[in-house]
């Protein structure tokens, strides 16, 4: 299953498995995630709630919930193994090399500290030498995110910010330390439709201006399609299909990806469809295909043999018995 780090990749996840021990027994949210992010590119991950999107981001940062541990696979950052970093190296890695933007912008900020304190703290934590006052950097950081009056915003507390403003502050915080990869965990889900587009565009623009890569996860396929060049579809703790945006959006190979696209297809006048069946419970490990109960193309081989992995070239990858050749 493991194929070693891809050449030139910034981040390589191969076969990452996570187990969380809870009071009611172990849960397996990730069951072998494979993913590569190259410098400066934008990758999107789509999937239903509970498919392991957020846990993938958490395993990249090695931020496990209580009782959770990475039990298999490797996470490689350039040529280093993230799982082998010691505490100091991990602190440098988080923030300075990989930063994260959270789903709920207001709770991701400390309610008791002013915006200025939080941005200044982020600068101080990650940059040993600053050529200038950190307050000046904070002001610049906000100006980059199109705040017209950064001085007034710096003095505010999180409860005095709107959702969109708070998320822009979060983006400023994430960018503060000059990371080469930004992880965004549904950064626009909590915002108004109109604000979503603006924040998304700003995020994309700022990430590109800094030549950083972006790993964007969402259950909103349209938001992902807007920013991501490569898209991965996640199901039950695995990336079941990965490929360039055009390919995934027009002719996906995996039955789940197709079903997902039909759900959000707004071109037809029909009522949006849903996928019959339920998301599998993650208390079990699925060596066979976890989607087969809901799959319209289910075959006899699906119930017998473990999930195959097809490398299709051009970074396309598929985890399905159907293979790429079917129609």
């Amino acid at each position: 299953m493991n194929s070693g780090p891809a050449d030139g990749a910034l981040l390589t996840l191969s076969g990452v498995e996570v187990t969380i021990n809870t009071l009611s027994g172990p849960v397996h949210p990730l069951q072998g995630v494979d993913l590569e992010v190259f410098p400066g590119e934008t990758v999107g991950l789509v999937g239903e709630s509970g498919c392991g999107k957020s846990m993938t981001l958490r395993s990249i940062l090695r931020l496990m919930p209580p009782g959770g541990a990475i039990t298999g696979g490797t996470v490689e950052w350039q040529d280093r193994s993230v799982l082998d970093l010691d505490t100091d190296e991990l602190q440098t890695y988080r923030g300075s090399e990989v930063a994260m933007i959270y789903q709920n912008p207001v709770t991701a900020l400390d309610p008791m500290l002013s915006v200025e304190r939080q941005i200044v703290d982020a600068f101080k934590a990650n940059r040993e030498v600053l050529d200038g006052a950190p307050e000046e950097f904070a002001r610049e950081a906000l100006r980059d995110l199109e705040f017209g009056n950064p001085d007034a915003i710096l003095k505010r507390y999180p409860h005095q910010l709107s959702g969109g403003m708070a998320q822009r502050v979060n983006i400023a915080l994430a960018l503060a330390c000059g990371p080469s990869l930004i992880l965004a965990d549904e950064p626009t889900t909590g915002l108004d439709m109109t604000t979503q587009v603006r924040v998304l565009d700003l995020l994309e623009q700022q990430v590109h201006a800094r030549n950083a890569a972006l790993l964007f996860i969402s259950h909103d396929l349209r938001a992902v399609a807007r920013v991501a060049r490569n898209i991965g579809i996640m199901y039950a703790g695995r990336v079941v299909e990965f490929g360039p945006r055009e390919r995934i959006l027009t002719e996906p190979s995996h039955p789940y990806a197709r079903a997902l696209l039909e759900c959000v297809d707004l071109r037809t006048d029909e009522r949006p469809r849903s996928i019959p069946g339920l998301v599998p419970r993650m208390t079990e490990v699925y060596p066979l295909c976890a989607f087969r109960e809901r799959c319209v193309s289910r075959m006899a081989v699906c119930d017998e043999e473990p999930l195959p992995r097809h490398e299709l070239g051009g970074r396309r990858r598929l985890l399905c018995h159907l293979g790429p050749g079917h129609d």
Binding site: P66, T92, Y93, R94, Y102, T107, R117, K155, H159, L183
Partner: protein, 306 residues
């Protein structure tokens, strides 16, 4: 919401000092009066020369005038040695307030740090912290004080500091440490999984950075509310221990030991020897509670009531 304007800030500050209701305003003014007494305490004789007020040397006995009732010469009367109670009650204010403050800040400060650390680390660190809290809190406070005096009272290990005072401060710290640890820990426990703490970790902040920059500020409200209450409690402990003869030794003025002097006299009708220092204990405790009541006006982000 709008940004806090200077005018609004002034109003908030005024409200914090004066208080939202009449009762709280009275208590807070009383506190500032007590604080004023504590400041002028040692110079009371000098001040007595400028304004007409019968004040005396708090330590010089008057053998010809013992246990005299309140009068124009001795507003609060005199005790068995003829010491002026009015002067002594005022001078004692500083002793009680200072010892309470130092003890609470020492024990409370360590308690806050330990509580924040325990709630951040959880697991066995948390377990050990809680067991320490339980061991300390299982002793009755006065018994703990007596035990400390038995163990440390005769050791001259505090250099120039008065031995009794040093042990009192230790006793108060020991009593306050678990109070603050528990309170801070319980407030901060849900924060471990809070998104902004996760975000701080993602930003590369270390454990102490998170505890110092995010945990302690988030417990600020509870610490501020607890602080005056525990100071009041500390004053009671000081007075209680001095009453049974530990801590500040006579003839040094201290409310608890002054009450003790008058305790046997009260049945003979010489009430003033105990009642005035007792009243000062009551008043100082009462005045301090004025800061814990409605202290939520102080706790919101940036001093606003959120």
């Amino acid at each position: 919401m709008t940004t806090t304007s200077p005018r609004r800030e002034r109003r908030l500050l005024a409200r914090a000092l004066v208080g939202p209701t009449v009762g709280i305003t009275i208590r807070r003014s009383l506190f500032f009066f007590m604080l004023f007494l504590a400041v002028i305490g040692p110079w009371i004789e000098t001040i007595g020369q400028w304004i007409p007020m019968p004040v005396y040397d708090p330590l010089r006995p008057d053998p010809f005038n013992p246990v005299s009732p309140p009068s124009a010469e001795h507003w609060f009367g005199t005790d068995t040695l003829g010491l002026d109670i009015f002067t002594r009650v005022i001078v004692a204010t500083r002793v009680d307030f200072t010892l309470a403050l130092i003890g609470v800040m020492l024990g409370g400060g360590l308690g806050c740090l330990a509580g924040a650390w325990a709630s951040y680390r959880r697991g066995w660190v948390d377990m050990i912290a809680l067991r320490i809290v339980e061991v300390v809190q299982s002793f009755p406070v006065l018994l703990l004080g007596i035990a400390l005096f038995a163990a440390l009272g005769s050791l001259e290990i505090f250099g120039p500091v008065d031995n009794g005072m040093a042990v009192l401060v230790i006793a108060i710290s020991l009593v306050n440490f678990p109070l603050y640890l528990r309170q801070v820990r319980s407030v901060l426990l849900p924060l471990t999984e809070a998104e902004f703490v996760q975000a701080a970790k993602c930003a590369g902040l270390g454990a102490w950075g998170i505890v110092w920059h995010h945990f302690i500020p988030n417990a600020r409200g509870q610490i501020l509310a607890l602080f005056p209450l525990t100071c009041a409690y500390a004053i009671q402990i000081i007075a209680g221990l001095s009453f049974i003869g530990l801590g500040i030794e006579p003839p040094n003025p201290e409310w608890g030991s002054m009450i003790k002097t008058g305790a046997t006299l009260i049945v003979q009708g010489h009430w003033w020897v105990s009642v005035f220092p007792g009243a000062f204990i009551v008043l100082s405790v009462y005045s301090l509670t004025g800061f814990s009541a409605r202290s939520e006006t102080l706790v919101g982000p940036g001093g606003t009531s959120a």
